[in-house]
């Protein structure tokens, strides 16, 4: 059995899954330190189900590491070293970071000879002497982590790997993050991604240790995995290297849970909470990724993040009549005290759903006085806003299956324009924790290939092998790994026929990864 935990902004949910069967679920308020909320959700769940012996692993979804970026707290003194000279000098590393964040990590940067062309040729030989000098300077400055970025390292990672070896040789304790393991084509964004992971490494270490310790205190001596934002999971050593991959893992867990509960692999998931509604798309069972660069704490990165759009509409959204509006203010977690149907004096979207008969909760008598026109207007308004959002997330004009999850899904009627089917699965209120519990392990690789030196098939085969290796390295069982996505984009204005290939492979957790490492 797998135990899944999802730490949301308001609640921490925990579920125990036996294969496809939900054995138990618990919901507690999220705590500021995250760890104690996880501990109380898990202990409530264990008290309910009364067993720990058959639990094989715990999967936790939390974005706690990335909060450290916003708070600029506990970030390691971090340097960035670029392998590129004589290219790219006008735009040095960290060039557009917010001053506050740059200062928080020390802002030390180095540029040395190295890097590659799009077809794999060297821009210049790797300058090992300059790297060694830079490492000495880092040590003198008390720097504890370094991100290394080479131009076109996704085409050929050799220079980054060799630089890492030089750094390790000179300073074994320095944490090293290589850009080719951190992102896609797009030097500045990939370099930023590596730097963010580098400076978060220590926070990730301590958070993960804290969670492990509290699970042990509950008698759970099983491996811990973390949710990542593509709907898959990673083991803790991987998570320590790539903490930023947890960003936005909440919505993806919800979407994976929704897919799991309904069997829908391609469609739209609408998660209506108390304050906001997240709408995302499932493609072959996984959340669709955003195609545009994303900013994290004011830093532009090309991390993959789920293509999820939020609108300020939820069960607790406040309705005001003059001028007419639903939200963005919400009573949030105070719904059960402040809303009319619960004896409060704030009219919310939920009250109109109760008055219309769509939802059965609270005291319907307390909303009986609401004018039918008002209720009808609110119902239509909510419906239209969700329909517009669903339409924005679709990829074509064909109707698609829509899965409704979240406590606020009572606001919607039985049909939705644009939906071929509208589904409300059982246990939809803990879909996020279920998504964590059922997650598989993935590996994704993007590289650019020159087709002068090989065929397209060879390029795809090479990238596929790398993605499978990455998945296996992250803890997947090689025998179950399958390729779930292959994308090939020819480069424009390159007559020599270069192409960009991206492959994603996914597999079940390897049995070896389920044995708790002895340490």
């Amino acid at each position: 059995m797998f135990l899944g935990v999802d730490v949301g902004g308001t609640n921490t949910d925990a579920v125990l899954m036996d294969g496809r069967r939900l054995v138990g679920a618990a919901k507690v308020p999220t705590t500021i330190d995250v760890t104690s909320g996880i501990a109380s959700a898990v202990s409530e769940l264990l008290a309910q189900t009364g067993r720990t012996d058959s639990i094989e692993a715990v999967v936790v979804g939390t974005t706690h590491f990335t909060n450290a970026l916003l708070e600029r707290a506990n970030l390691a003194p971090t340097a960035v070293m670029r392998l590129s000279l004589p290219a790219t000098e006008l735009l040095p590393p960290l060039v557009e970071w917010p001053d506050g964040l740059k200062n928080a990590i020390g802002g030390q940067t180095y540029m040395v000879g190295g890097g590659n062309e799009f077809d794999g040729r060297e821009i210049s030989p790797l300058n090992r002497q300059d790297i060694a000098d830079a490492v000495r300077d880092m040590q003198a400055r008390g720097i504890r982590a370094v991100a290394v970025s080479g131009v076109f390292s996704p085409v050929d990672p050799a220079h980054e790997d060799q630089a890492a070896a030089v750094i390790h040789g000179a300073a074994p304790d320095l944490r090293v993050c290589l850009s080719h393991q951190n992102g896609r084509i797009g030097l500045l964004e990939r370099e930023n991604a590596a730097a963010l992971n580098a400076c978060l490494g220590e926070v990730a270490d301590s958070t993960i240790q804290g969670i492990e310790r509290s699970l042990e205190m509950l008698g759970l001596n099983v491996p811990l995995f973390m949710s990542q934002n593509d709907g898959t999971l990673m083991d803790t050593s991987f998570a320590r290297q790539f903490p930023v991959l947890t960003i936005s893992s909440g919505p993806t867990n919800s979407m994976r849970g929704a897919a799991y509960l309904t069997g829908v692999t391609d469609g739209i998931v609408v998660d209506i909470g108390g304050t906001s509604t997240d709408v995302g798309a499932l493609v072959r069972g996984f959340p669709r990724e955003s195609a545009v660069a994303v900013e994290l704490a004011g830093v532009r990165t090309n991390f993959r993040i789920p293509d999820v759009e939020s609108i300020a509409l939820g069960g607790g959204s406040v309705i005001s009549q003059d001028p007419w509006s639903i939200g963005p203010e919400s009573v949030g977690y105070r719904l059960t005290t402040d809303a009319l149907a619960f004896g409060g004096d704030t009219m919310t979207a939920t009250d109109c759903a109760v008055a219309s008969g769509a939802a059965r909760l609270g005291n319907p008598g307390r909303v009986a006085h609401l004018a039918p026109e008002l209720v009808a207007r609110a119902t239509a308004d909510v419906q239209a806003r969700v329909e517009t959002q669903v339409d924005r997330m679709k990829l074509s004009r064909d109707d698609v299956p829509v899965v409704l999850v979240g406590g606020g899904s009572i606001l919607l009627g039985d049909s939705l324009s644009g939906a071929s089917r509208l589904m409300r699965p059982e246990h939809a209120d803990v879909a996020n924790a279920i998504g964590a519990a059922i997650a598989q392990v993935s590996g994704q690789v993007e590289r650019v290939y020159s087709l002068d030196s090989g065929t397209r098939d060879e390029a795809v085969a090479d990238c596929t092998a790398a993605a499978i290796a990455r998945a296996t390295e992250a803890g997947a069982d090689r025998a179950t790994v399958e390729v779930v996505d292959v994308e090939e984009v020819p480069l424009t204005y390159v007559p020599s026929n270069a192409t960009r290939v991206r492959v994603k492979a996914v597999g079940d957790i390897a049995p070896s990864a389920l044995r708790r490492p002895q340490n």
Binding site: A87, L91, R397, T492
Partner: protein, 356 residues
């Protein structure tokens, strides 16, 4: 005369995005480079063509290579190196720089070289918009030779294409060298005289780009309609308003070609617009009827924020307004249309100027 500062760059990006008619690529790297260049070497003076001195020597610089490579091996000072290479070759010094097109990164490339060299730029360019091919420049249409032309990389290599039988050949040879240089380089064309700039360049384009961006930003800040602000700044009209329902892309011989289907809303209700593109938007039809063609400008912006949408970012569900602007006069002549009219792009139709 005015001075471009760091603060003008975001406005120029929006304006050049609108005038880029779907092409020109991502302006992000170019913007950052221009900002860094100005921080390092100071702001850049902008002269109208008539403010040039009689003995002016104006050099056109621009980027050449693959946009996807340019986001990885980001450009450095290649345009400055190309400028110095062509100056050495012809034995004359530039007194000002000029842009080849007012779209994407090329709109700011001269600002980078000019900041470094301490030169002014001319408030004009060779297209008044963006076009996909090198020879589609008003300079060349009206007899300015495209050679000699220098191409330079970031390593210190440069070549000069001394003479070719046509601009197309100059582009072919320059591109061959560019590939060896790693698919990212810049070029500089032999100097133009004041008379040549006044006669063959599309005037006022940097100012127009800045003003368009400024108008959009102001409208956003004040909660006004950005489309109205755009049309007040640059005379044109709304051709269509709707939702993108299909994007059909294919990459052929290095160009991003395809078409875009937009279903009408509001005033365009019950109608369908189809736009063909080759990097830039070429022809717009409503219910099968042509409503606008090159060289007139066909620009898609989001209806709510007025943000220009390049063809690579087009996707299902986007709400866009398609705006039409009349082509600069230099394009609507027989010589201009021969190079950049609908027939030059393979359409069996005559150019009918957009009525505004």
């Amino acid at each position: 005369m005015w001075t471009v500062t760091e603060d003008d760059l975001p406005n120029i990006a929006i304006g050049a995005g609108i005038l880029g008619t779907g092409g020109g690529g991502n302006p992000y790297i170019g913007q950052l480079r221009a900002r860094q260049a100005m921080r390092q070497w100071g702001p850049v003076t902008v002269l109208s063509p008539h403010e040039l001195s009689d003995d002016a020597r104006v050099i056109c610089v621009g980027g050449i290579g693959a946009p996807t490579v340019g986001i990885e091996k980001v450009r450095d000072l290649q345009s400055y190196h190309a400028l110095r290479a062509i100056e050495d070759f012809v034995g004359e010094k530039a007194t000002a720089l000029i842009s080849n097109e007012i779209g994407g990164s090329n709109s700011v490339e001269p600002l980078i070289a000019a900041a470094k060299a301490g030169l002014p730029v001319v408030d004009a360019d060779g297209m008044g918009r963006a076009f996909p091919e090198f020879q589609m420049k008003t300079f060349f249409v009206y007899g300015v030779p495209c050679c000699p032309m220098a191409v330079a990389d970031e390593k210190g290599n440069s070549i000069v294409v001394r003479e070719t039988i046509s601009p197309v050949w100059a582009e072919k040879l320059a591109r061959a060298a560019t590939i060896q240089m790693g698919c990212v380089a810049c070029y500089a064309v032999a100097p133009m005289t004041r008379e040549q700039v006044i006669r063959t360049a599309v005037p006022n384009s940097l100012t127009l780009a800045r003003n368009l961006g400024h108008a959009v930003q102001r409208a956003r800040d004040a909660g006004h309609d950005p489309l109205e602000a755009i049309l007040e700044t640059c005379p044109g009209r709304i051709l269509f308003t709707g939702k993108v329902v299909d994007v059909d892309r294919r990459t052929t011989s290095g160009f991003a070609r395809g078409s875009l289907t937009i279903e009408g809303i509001d005033a365009s209700h019950d109608q369908v617009m189809l736009i063909d593109f080759q990097n830039e938007n070429l022809v717009a039809r409503v219910d099968g009827q042509i409503v606008c063609t090159v060289p007139d400008l066909i620009c898609a912006v989001t209806t709510d924020t007025g943000e220009p949408v390049t063809t690579e970012l087009m996707r299902y569900g986007l709400r866009v307004a398609v705006l039409g602007f009349p082509a600069p006069e230099l394009w609507s002549t027989p010589e201009g249309l021969a190079v950049a009219g609908p027939r030059a792009f393979g359409y069996d139709t005559d150019y009918v100027p957009l009525a505004v």
